[in-house]
Structures are given as structure tokens and as C-alpha cells.
């Protein structure tokens, strides 16, 4: 089987790219803040981590392309561009063209300024919604490019256009499990020789009124007056990684950042027993230096995982690390975010939320999704023995 390495990582979130994010975490900072939602007066404030400022056109080959981009697509293009740069592929259009592209994306963040105008114009004098008026007046008030910002495949399409990526592809939706499937597909495709390189990641814009209303109704959004926990601060962000066959990376003189030795997907019951079996089923079995966890919503979840780790690796179980409480949660991007942070931590020699862990070389990434799907992958430093 072909050995698979990570040759590039890129993200854009509250603190910027991975390096800035790790710096901020090392300084004890948090991105989670009280957020007032734009465009919906009266909407309750929530806890969230909005993306930091950025130039949406910095990687667009033609700035006109930006007008087709939703904020989700802008974040995807920015994070992808950073991963491509880090992998040394920006000056290598041929390698980019052959690259596969697998993306997970979140709920559609409808452009409320358009939709609300249209809804208003579709009302009769007595305030009732009227389809006839929508056809006559409501549609006319929508921006003609609005559909491009609603189509769920556009973040992928725009990344492909921005960077000339022409390979195998798909876009999945809307949760953390979908990013796991995207990652497993990319890893398996390289292992089995279908392609040698893939850009894989996730993006989402949950801090917008309509997706936020959906998430609030699912009781998954943390609010400033929360006391019980069990809910996420929502983040707007995108994170991408470049997977590559070790040989292909070596052939083009690229530096492999880390090696991916195993990837697993499952949907076991959330009990420490079945999770321990999931951990214990890891093909190479031995204890990782740390388990980097994303998607656990509360201390109960984390305790189940801690117990499972203790059961799978009795004696000295690995510690669990999670960045979600400080960076917020964006389901579709949570896996590539955790993976990228783990890889960057490994290359720096420390995991910021685990002061006691020095020189991690072997990390297990665990992503837990709302529908009980679990994804794990074993990431090792390229110098670590196989």
C-alpha cells in the first residue's frame, strides 16, 4: 500500500492560519466571544468564533470571481490557498491540476438582505405571503448572483476554478461525519493508487441567522447565559489539508509534515465500552502520545472518551486534548481543523493545551459527529518509526 503523508495545511478562522492559531492558543487566548448576529434585529446573542478579517480576493485569479462567492466559499478558497502554498504547489499548476478535491460544507447561509427584501415584496397589503407577488415582484428584487451563493457545491467549484484543480471530487454536507468520509476517501484513493494527491477539507458559515436558527432549534448553540453546557460555540471557518503519496511528495521535493498511518470510520454506540473497542481496533494498537478530540459537546462526552482511552490503553492512557472550547465548532471543518492543529503542534514539538506533553510524535485524531459517527486517524511525525 502507498504511504500517505500530509504536505500542506491551511485554515482561516478567528485567529487566521494554523500558525497564528497555535500562537494564540499557546498564549491562552480564546476566540469565543459574544456575537450579535448581523441582519436579524432581535435575534439573541450567541457565543461564537467569527472568522478574522481577510481579503476575499487574495487567491482569486480574477477578482470578478469574488462576486460569485458566499462567505463560506471565500473561506474555503482562502484556506485552500494557504494549504496549497504550504505544500509548495502554488508554482506547480500541473500537479495542482491532477489533484483530487473533496470538500465538506455546512448549512446554506441564505443572504438575508436578498431573501428578506424578496419576502417583503411578496406580501399583500394585509401582510400575507403571496406567490403571485413573489413571481412578479419578489424575484426581481433578488440579486441575480444570489443562486450562486446558495448552491452547496459552489465552495468546491470555486476552489477548483481558483487553483486549476481538475481531479476526482465531491462535496458532502452538512456535518462532521461528512468531513471524515471526505478524508477517508482521499486517503484510500491515494493508498490504492487512483490519484497521488488530494486537497480535502471543510468550510462553514454557521454564524448567520438562518443556519443559526436551525442549530438553535437543535439545541446545539451555546449562548452567553448558558449554565448547563452541552452546546457548542459556533465558528465560521474553513480548514484544508493536502494528502499526498510519500513518493509523489519526495519526487517534487516537498517536505512531508506528517504521515497518516490509519484511518477509520464507524458509528458505534456512545458508550465507553464500544468506544474502547473502537480505540482498541486501531490497526497498530499501541498507545498514542495524545488523543486530539473534536466534536464532543460536554464533559459527559469527554468522560466517556477518557474512560474508553483508559480501557483501551490500561496503565498510562493518553491524555485527551480538545480545541473546540477555545476556537468554536464548525461541524464541516472540525476534523481538518483538529488534524491541522495536531500536525502543526507536532512540527512545533508541543500541543498548546497540553503543557505536560513534550515532542509529540504520534497522535490519534478523533472526530465525533452529532449522529454518533466517529472518525479516527493516526498521525505520526515523518521521523517516527512505522
Amino acid at each position: 500500500m502507498t504511504e500517505v503523508v500530509i504536505s500542506g495545511i491551511g485554515m482561516h478562522g478567528a485567529f487566521g492560519d494554523f500558525g497564528d492559531t497555535l500562537d494564540a492558543l499557546a498564549q491562552g487566548r480564546t476566540a469565543v466571544t459574544r456575537v450579535s448576529v448581523d441582519g436579524a434585529p432581535g435575534f439573541p446573542d450567541v457565543l461564537g468564533a467569527p472568522a478574522g478579517p481577510y481579503d476575499p480576493g487574495c487567491y482569486a485569479p480574477d477578482r470578478k470571481l469574488v462576486k460569485y462567492m458566499s462567505r463560506t466559499a471565500q473561506l474555503a478558497v482562502l484556506a485552500s490557498g494557504r494549504a496549497i502554498e504550504r505544500a509548495g504547489l502554488m508554482d506547480d499548476p500541473q500537479s495542482r491540476a491532477a489533484m483530487a478535491l473533496f470538500v465538506a460544507t455546512g448549512y446554506i447561509a441564505f443572504d438575508l438582505s436578498n431573501v428578506a427584501r424578496s419576502a417583503e415584496a411578496s406580501k399583500t397589503a394585509d401582510g400575507a405571503f403571496d406567490l403571485g407577488r413573489m413571481g412578479e415582484e419578489g424575484l426581481r428584487l433578488c440579486h441575480p448572483l444570489m443562486p450562486f451563493k446558495m448552491l452547496l457545491n459552489m465552495p468546491l467549484g470555486l476552489v477548483s476554478i481558483a487553483f486549476g484543480i481538475r481531479g476526482e471530487n465531491f462535496v458532502l454536507y452538512p456535518g462532521a461525519d461528512q468531513a471524515g468520509i471526505a478524508f477517508e476517501t482521499a486517503w484510500r484513493g491515494i493508498r490504492n493508487g487512483r490519484f497521488v494527491r488530494a486537497l480535502v477539507g471543510g468550510c462553514g458559515q454557521g454564524l448567520s441567522p438562518i443556519p443559526l436558527a436551525t442549530l438553535i432549534r437543535q439545541d446545539r448553540v451555546a449562548c452567553p447565559d448558558d449554565t448547563g453546557g452541552g452546546r457548542f460555540p459556533i465558528a465560521d471557518l474553513a480548514a484544508f489539508v493536502i494528502l499526498e503519496s510519500a513518493q509523489a511528495a519526495e519526487d517534487r521535493g516537498a517536505r512531508a509534515i506528517a504521515r497518516i498511518d490509519s484511518v477509520r470510520l464507524a458509528r458505534p454506540q456512545r458508550s465507553s465500552q464500544s468506544l474502547a473497542a473502537f480505540f482498541g481496533g486501531d490497526p497498530d494498537g499501541h498507545r498514542p502520545d495524545s488523543v486530539v478530540v473534536t466534536g464532543c459537546i460536554d464533559s459527559v462526552d469527554l468522560q466517556v472518551l477518557t474512560d474508553a482511552a483508559a480501557s483501551a490503553w490500561p496503565g498510562t492512557p493518553p491524555a485527551l486534548a480538545s480545541f473546540d472550547d477555545r476556537l468554536g465548532h464548525c461541524a464541516a471543518a472540525s476534523l481538518p481543523l483538529a488534524l491541522g492543529l495536531a500536525v502543526e503542534s507536532m512540527s512545533r514539538g508541543s500541543v498548546p493545551v497540553q503543557q505536560d506533553l513534550s515532542a509529540p510524535r504520534d497522535l490519534l485524531i478523533l472526530s465525533a459527529a452529532a449522529d454518533e459517527a466517529l472518525f479516527s486517524c493516526r498521525v505520526r511525525s515523518v521521523e517516527a518509526p512505522q
Partner: protein
Amino acid sequence: MRRVVVTGLGVVSPIGIGVDAFYDGLRHARSGIGLIRSFDASTFPTRIAGEVTGDVPIPVWVAEPLGSAINRDRKACFAVAAADQALTEAFSGGSIGSSYAPDRIGTYLGAGLEIFHLDDLAPHVRGGELDGASLLASLRDAPAFSRMQIPSHLASSAVAAHARAEGPLAVNVSACTAAAQAIGEAFLAVQDDVLDAAIVGGYDSMVNPLGVGGFCMLEALSRANHLGGAASRPFDLNRDGFVLGEGSAVLILEELNAAHRRNAPIYAELLAYASSLDAYRVSDPDPSLQGAVSAMAQALARARLEPSDVDYINAHGTGTRKNDPMESRAIRRVFGSVAGEIPVSSTKSQVGHLIGAAGAVELIACIFALTEGIVPATINLDTPDPECDLDYVPKKPRARTVRTALSNSFGFGGQNACIAIGRLRG
């Protein structure tokens, strides 16, 4: 290399609910397109679509909390109905869960966009601005997922839960290529020994005010409302855009030896799948043809097929000015001297463009060709377009032995997918 076969079919389409009705519609070149009846579209520029008519039977296993949302979302109703047909047919007297380990069963479905109900939103808009407090208050007492924005993946989750499929549950939202990609990726997962069986396909309905309105804004839809059933005219000189359709198709994939062991009905063998990207423009196909050519050529190569081995191509064939000549030229480039000898048809002429479900319905049309020995027609092809110069099987289906077929799906945004399918080889 593990081989993958199709052992169950389910379809809900504008020309019939159930495989028999769908096949009958193909056999008789029936059009499922007419004036929109599911909402009042009288003031919309486009007032025609391929709608599913008749009662769509909702399986008894569709329960709350998802039930009320599924009932409010046409595409979700189509999905559970088609999945129920496919599972019942493939596992008569049993269940997929009793035949395979749960974690070796995947669910890979293409899905359309979230349903967004403007009529839910309108009461909370004042002076062109959304009143967030009023909106949230109205949602508080409504069942989860039942109002405003219905996520697209709920039907997939319901199908997986019913089947006790604990393998990957992939919700592909690649627009026009979603179903083809979902089927293709599940095929690869079975071939790669990650799964033993998969529930695959797609479901979509954009026949709603925001869907029809949005595509009208893009000027992608035919406005030949007066033509009714004759409005969808792929490859015709006078075509003026595509006609939206709605529906779902679900197929059951199994590893060949496992299917043999349980004496499953085998309709066809999936031979190969490939996908590519145009990386060109958001809304236009790439004039270099590179993406479309790559998807077809790779599918042929992976299936170890020569161009002359292909007996039928189910074209993407949308009926837009740009797609049809582009696809025709791409087929010519891939198939060279034999291109003119291969029947190429667009079943979108009969059912419209089912967007996220198109690739699945069209793959079942290919299975119809393989099993019935009939190539579906491109109806409404009255005036050939000189730029579209292949054999499009105009107007009537044609009797022909079909051993191998290709199904093309090309998406808005530049995604391309191609599936090669054939009769089970010895």
C-alpha cells in the same frame, strides 16, 4: 478486484412511481412534463416542470422526529419511497441488515438543496428586515426541522436508520452530479473492501418557489411554457434551456460473491466510475472539453472498455444552448470514429432535469436498456442542431442489444462524473 452488482431498484419519477411504471414510460416515450401544479407558478417566467403525480407512498418506518420534516419536503418523500422499493425488492423476505454486518453497509445518496420556505419567513420580515426575535419565537413550538429551513440530509438519515446501515452515511450535494458521484463513491468503497453493500442514489425537487425562481434568475430554464410536454428538447436546434424535474432513484449495490451467496437478483454490474472538474467558469462548460473528456475516458479505461464496446450513452443532455454541443463534441473526442454509431439519448427530454437525483434515475434508464434491450429515446427532437451531430435516438425508443452503457452527469460549477455499467459478465 472485487466486483459490484446492482441488486435492487426503486424510482419515483415524473413518468411513474415504481420501476415498472418508469420502464413503461421509457418504453412508450411518455413525457412527464407539464404546467406546475404543486404551487401557483402563474406569475413566474417558467411555469412548467416534470412533477411527480399520484400518491407517493410514505413507508411506515418514517417516524418522528424526522417524519414531519420529511412530509413537508417533497424530495425527502421521494427518497424514502424509492429506498423502500429498492430494499424491499432486493431483500424480499429479509432485510439488508440480516444479510450484512451493519458497519459494512453504507448509505450514499445525492441530495438537493435545503428546502427554504419563504412563506414561513415572510411574517417575520418588517420593512425589508428580518425580526429575529419574532422568527425564533415562531419556531419554538414547531416540531424540530419542520419549518423554515429543512436540512437536506434528513431523508438519508431516515433510510440509513431503517436499514440499520452503520457504515458511512454520505450526503453528496454536488448539484447535477450528486447522485452519480454518490453511486460512484459507494461503488469504489465496495470495490476497495471497505463495504459489502450500499444503498445509493439521489433525491431532489427544486420544483418550489425559490427553486424555480432561482433557476429563472440564472436564465437556465426553458420558458417554452406553451409547449408543455414538448418543452424539454435536448439536442434540438430550438431548445431554450432545461426543464426542472423532481424525483428519486435508489439502487442497492452488493459485492458480487455476496450477492450470489444469497441468490440476490442481479440487474447489472457496475464496471467503473470517474469524476473530474472543469476548473473553468462558474456557469459555463469548459470549451476545451477537458473535464468531460477526462471523466468519460477514465471510466472507459478503468472498465477496460474500448470505445467500440459501448452500446449506449445516456447523455447529461440538459437542453441548454451550451451543454448539448459541448457534450456532443466531448463524446466525439472520446469515441472517435465510432462516436456516430453509438446511440446517445437524453431521458431528460421525458422527465426533465432532476438535478441531485438525475444521475440515479438516468442510471436506471441505462439498466432498462441493458435488461430490456431498448434504448430510451430523446423525445421532442424535431429539428437537429448541426452542432449536435450524433445518433440521439430521436422521438422513439429503439430495440438494440445493449451489453455496456455509460451514464454522464455534468454539473453547474464544473463537476463531471461518468459511470460505466454492463450486463453481468461471466
